[in-house]
């Protein structure tokens, strides 16, 4: 059974919830229209189709679009070698979707990381704490409206919280036809 057949099986089971499988560079992706059902789809994929290995969960901030968040699951069957990508959109107001921790225990730290970096919550996760940033940090640094240079936080002495001395970095380039000063600003604000 190929990855495409697996994707079609998921589509046959869940119907309109699942988009037509997309192929790009030999990888099959399907879009799940209702994030609330992601748990059911993942547990079906694991139990019925043999996707026993969760490679990764990623998240994308589609800043300025609605819905704002995309959460991406990379599934793999270790024995079969098949791979499948599940994607689902979550709106900014909701910013919450079910945890897949009961399906794959590796989801624990992945979901904590997404919560830490993007601020998307996973309902049913037993231990949704920050993982890379410290407890009490008030921002979600991978959001597109968080500046590269960082923001001062109100925890002086706990960590180095001033913007980095390079103020955005000398090698930070925006591809454009503008002049060098425009392409490589000393500080970049999110509006740019």
């Amino acid at each position: 059974m190929s990855a495409l057949e697996s994707a079609n099986k998921i589509k046959a089971k869940f119907g309109d919830l699942i988009s037509e499988p997309q192929e790009f560079r030999g990888e099959i992706s399907i879009q799940v229209s209702d994030a609330e059902r992601i748990f059911d789809i993942c547990s079906f994929a694991k139990k019925q189709l043999g996707f026993d290995y969760l490679v990764d969960i990623s998240s994308v901030d589609n800043y300025g679009e609605d819905p704002r968040w995309t959460v991406i699951y990379h599934l793999r069957g270790v024995a079969s070698g098949r791979e499948l990508r599940l994607k689902t959109d979550v709106s900014e107001e909701k910013s919450e979707l079910p945890s897949v921790l009961p399906v794959w225990r590796t989801a624990n730290w992945h979901e904590r990381e997404i919560y830490d970096m993007m601020g998307i919550r996973f309902s049913g996760h037993p231990d949704l704490r920050r993982i890379l940033m410290w407890e009490g940090y008030s921002y979600f640094p991978l959001r597109k409206d968080f500046p590269l240079a960082g923001k001062p936080t109100d925890l002086p002495g706990v960590a180095f919280t001033n913007p980095a001395p390079l103020e955005g970095g000398p090698f930070v380039t925006i591809p454009s036809s503008g002049d060098a000063t425009g392409r490589e600003p000393r500080v970049r604000t999110p509006e740019e």
Binding site: D52, V55, S58, H74, R85, W109, P141, T173
Partner: protein, 423 residues
């Protein structure tokens, strides 16, 4: 008037039994011990909060993030080529393997990952395998030292030094190599490089055998490693372990075999797997992987297209002015090449919109890059699947039940790097 009192003296076996009984009744308080973030056995800045009952661990909570640098955020703000030096600093024990992994991911997005010139593929395989040996050597040396066998550390570091020399000869840098480019490598290997690799392999075979005589059948080493930190097959898959930690549990999965990239399908090598999934199995798997890497290297130095001196002028980069930089000579003499060079340097490699995931078999496990592109020279989102991060997530389940003195052994056998885990 003397008073007579009967006293009962039980025999020694009964006394011992009674003492044990009394001991078991003592309700000790649980102690919380903070191990790390700056502790020699945590190999960097890992902090583990241990809850102890006497010397037995009842709960362990690993705390990562002390080395977080925001690499994924940084990647969104620069061109694909500019991010290559940052990949050196992920798993800083095997920067060459990270370079290869990242370049292949971007090439997959461009759709050219299977069209690389053969010489480039062989060079990449060779540097990646050297990086694997180098990373396993450090892991082994530090592992043995934490367990009390310092001699092995000296042996492995002598060999690592030779690999650093090879990396320096190829890329010009020992640690921060940045050797690959999108669509090729920075420069061809020097003419004597293959002979240097042959020489290294000859010496390394002896050193590896010596390290093995010091450890593999060493009573103390075996007693400390065996049946400790057992990860079952199901648990390893469920926790998403990868690399030697997954194979140590008996799961036969190696991206070099299961999803062959570069020229691995033309090379002959075996995958080592363990049977019980304890620390000793993970150690044995790494030892065997080093031997298999030697096999791969031996085949590569003999089969590399163009030979070591490249007399036939095989290219090491894709010949496409929109992807790789033209030679200096051409930039100076041809208008078209000058424009290509200018566009590549200022705007970066123009990638199509789309999303890809590429996983590379790194020494520590599967280093994956998920790239979400909206077109242009910078990624919209770049997610790094760091094997060390995921391998560490099993600690909370693995450590309870162990003694405190077992912690360095379990950590050493998982072989992680915090630079990669925290990104």
């Amino acid at each position: 008037m003397a008073q007579v009192q009967d006293i009962e003296i039980s025999d020694s076996a009964a006394r011992a039994a009674q003492a044990t009984e009394e001991l078991q009744e003592v309700q000790g308080e649980k102690m919380v011990l903070n191990m790390g973030p700056s502790h020699p056995a945590t190999h960097g800045v890992l902090r583990i909060v241990l809850e102890l009952d006497g010397e037995v661990i009842t709960k362990a909570d690993p705390d990562v993030g002390y080395l977080h640098r925001g690499d994924e955020k940084i990647a969104e703000n620069m061109t694909y080529t500019q991010f290559i030096p940052y990949t050196d600093r992920l798993d800083y024990l095997a920067p060459l393997a990270n370079n290869v992994a990242y370049a292949l991911a971007v090439e997959k997005l461009l759709g050219i990952h299977d069209k690389l010139p053969p010489r480039c593929q062989y060079i990449r395989v060779m540097v990646a395998e050297l990086a694997r040996i180098s990373a396993h050597l450090l892991g082994l040396g530090a592992f043995a030292m934490d367990t009390g066998a310092i001699t092995v550390f000296l042996l492995t570091f002598t060999e690592r030094e030779k690999i650093y020399n090879l990396a320096e000869a190829a890329s010009g840098a020992r640690l921060t190599t940045s050797y690959t480019r999108i669509g090729g490598v920075m420069r061809d290997i020097p003419p004597t490089w293959c002979d240097q690799v042959r020489q290294f392999l000859k010496e390394f075979a002896g050193a590896l055998a010596e390290a093995e005589t010091l450890l593999t059948r060493n009573r103390i080493w075996v007693d400390r490693l065996r049946d400790l930190g057992v990860v079952s097959k199901e648990m390893a898959v469920d926790y998403g372990l990868s690399g030697p930690n997954l194979r140590g549990s008996g799961v036969e999965f190696d991206l070099r075999k299961n999803q062959p990239y570069l020229c691995y399908k033309y090379l002959d090598f075996d995958i080592a797997i363990g049977s019980t999934g304890d620390c000793y199995d993970r150690y044995l798997v790494r030892m065997e992987e080093m031997r298999q890497s030697m096999r791969i290297l031996e085949q590569c130095v003999n089969k590399i297209p163009g030979g070591s001196e490249n007399k036939t002028n095989e290219p090491v980069c894709i010949q496409d002015g929109k992807i790789t930089l033209p030679s200096k000579q051409k930039v100076m003499s041809s208008m078209e090449e000058l424009i290509h060079q200018f566009m590549l340097v200022t705007e970066g490699v123009n990638c199509p919109p789309g999303e890809i995931y590429f996983g590379h078999e790194n020494p520590k496990g599967e280093l994956g890059f998920y790239i979400n592109s909206k077109g242009g020279g910078t990624p919209y989102r770049l997610k790094i699947r760091a094997p060390s991060f995921i391998n560490l997530s099993i600690l909370g389940e693995l450590l309870p039940g162990c003694m405190v003195s077992d912690v360095p052994v379990v950590l050493g056998s998982l072989d992680f790097v915090m630079g990669e885990s925290d990104r």
